[in-house]
Symmetry: C2
Subunit: 367 residues, 2 copies
């Protein structure tokens, strides 16, 4: 890439503008893994540890070694209601207007998916078989929550590290199900619909094609090359079923998207074999992040289509089965979104996505 710096890039799915300003970018020097600080008291009190099952509300779902009784040790993964839920299950959904304002009771579900009986292990450090169980646990909860026809959207997410919003260090993810389609999804659904209606098919399928099969060039009037985007230049990793890459308009240096290579509209469509491949991909990508950046804080979330039990096959938000492609977005918190990002909705990314992908791709992990 020639000097086109700083450069404004537009993300075709969210419509967001990003400023790629790589004047300050440097290759990270594989720092010592950061240790999360935790007081001995907090550790002793951890409600997610083995033998402390009575410190959480009763479990909703569990994968167990054998037939031990519920809410006792012997589990491998465990899902419980969040003790401080953002939503509750109210008898009815109540929407009210107060003057010019709208308010509603927060009907929905808020669950915690505990990823290990062990306190001091990270998701990505566990054996593949255990990561596969965690992914299966997410899938089971997602499928079950979609049975509630009042719930329009199920969002799985994970916060790793205090600076990424994790209040407990014991490894866990969270599942929230809501009666509204969240705004971030609405934008994606509308842009995906427009792309599809224009006859260009699934916008995520096109991105994968662009990533693997096209070399894009822009020429100067004299025939020399001004900009050349190489094939696979933003690919981080690939396996039989999934691809991980840095998006063209990444909002931060290490924003990584993981997509199934073949079109699927929802995580609930995955087969057990596909979920095993997903577990492999998650382990690989998260270990690369751990090694390259020294255990940085991160967030990720899964974006699937809304609950198809209640969303019509075609409608405001598109055909959904054909135009939405489920995916995971990982945001590694190496930069801080400050006054400019909050006040504008434009993001400043100090590292070129091509460089970020190369650094990660070159980070070797023993598997």
């Amino acid at each position: 890439m020639p000097e086109f710096n700083p450069e404004l890039r537009k993300d075709p799915i969210s419509g967001r503008w990003v400023i790629i300003s790589s004047a300050r970018a440097q290759r990270p020097e594989a720092p010592e893994p950061r240790r999360e600080e935790e007081t001995p008291e907090a550790r002793a009190r951890c409600p997610f540890c083995y033998g402390r099952e009575d410190q959480t509300p009763p479990e909703i779902f569990t994968i167990r070694i054998n037939g031990e009784s519920a809410n006792s040790p012997g589990w491998l993964t465990r899902v419980v209601p969040n003790k401080f839920p953002a939503f509750g299950i109210f008898p009815e959904i109540s929407l009210r207007r107060v003057g010019m304002f709208q308010m509603a009771t927060g009907y929905g579900a808020h669950e915690v998916a505990i990823e290990s009986p062990e306190h001091d292990v990270y998701l990505e450090q566990q054996p593949l078989s255990q990561i596969a169980r965690i992914v299966d646990t997410w899938w089971e909860r997602h499928v079950d929550l979609e049975r509630d026809r009042k719930l329009k959207y199920v969002l799985l997410f994970k916060n790793h590290g205090k600076a990424a919003g994790a209040s407990l260090t014991h490894p866990h993810g969270q599942i929230i199900a809501t009666t509204v389609i969240p705004d971030v999804l609405k934008s994606k659904l509308l842009n995906a619909k427009e792309h599809f209606v224009n006859g260009e098919g699934c916008i995520w399928c096109r991105q994968i094609e662009q990533l693997f099969y096209y070399e894009n060039k822009i020429y100067n009037p004299d025939g020399s090359v001004l900009v050349a985007i190489q094939q696979r230049d933003r690919v981080v990793a690939e396996n039989a079923k999934f691809v991980a890459y840095i998006p063209f308009a990444a909002r931060m240096p290490y924003e990584i998207h993981i997509l199934p290579k073949l079109h699927q509209y929802s995580f609930i469509q995955t087969s057990p074999e596909e979920r095993l491949e997903l577990a492999k991909m998650l382990k690989l990508v998260l270990m690369k992040i751990y090694k390259l950046l020294g255990n940085p804080p991160y967030n990720f979330y899964i974006h699937s289509a809304p609950n198809l039990n209640i969303t019509p096959r075609t409608g405001d938000y598109g055909t959904i089965r054909e135009d939405f492609h489920w995916h995971i977005e990982i945001l590694v918190r190496t930069t801080i979104w400050a006054g400019f990002e909050q006040g504008s909705g434009i993001y400043i990314n100090p590292l070129n996505p091509t460089d970020a992908a190369r650094y990660l791709a070159e980070t070797e992990i023993d598997q």
Copy 2:
């Protein structure tokens, strides 16, 4: 307010949903002011200190005690180009398409407004006369940048504290001017236009009325009161020209908006007397935050209408002069936006806005 918890609230201007979940809310106990850590080397190198004027690019604007020469000591406020700009002044704006992606050169301005020759003082700790000079400095730069008809939007913002994205501790704000209207503004302009076109006038003027003059009640079928929103229950402070309040659907506990009481579409419309009142209000509100929360990190930004030299009086984004009301939004970083907020665009606020406003209103500041 009765128990309606957790409660979903919709912000009428941005359209954002917020979950007010005050199960965990506690009154802060006026902690010791946090000190920002800084190495002696970083301090000795600070390019914004007196006598180090040659460490920055040449100044764009300055308020001086008397007629000393430019780029030398004697200044009270000083504006210089950002050494690592997110934008540059390119000879032409170049928009290109690469495959399915759009990119452009980042034409625009990125300036730093240094708030004091002193290193160890905060904006809000300075005498009122100096804060008034800072506000005047912002105004001078805003007016000047709008003369460039290629620039559609001028955004003034400030990051205080490392956790809020401030990379240098010497007190300073920033000014970015762009060739695009930022997305956050587009949403506001469109919602404000709709409100105006519906015959309801300026949506910010209506919020001020609602705050001061209305008591809103919702009744149960038996005639008892279910919800009562008191007059002024979200007001933090008020003076002759400005009001500061917690918005109905605040995204975090201490999100505070400052508005001129009388309708103005842009900060550039303010008179010197109004800017003095604004300086008083900023000092008061920021000192309340400092005292109540122990010098927390914060961001704020000013949202004015787009550059009226180039934006038509009526158009896609409304009449602008009549329907947009300029304002400051302060975000105190006491919570972290994590996977849920990023993945959904819905915010979880663990403190009821009425409580937050009361805590701040009751925090007394000697003036």
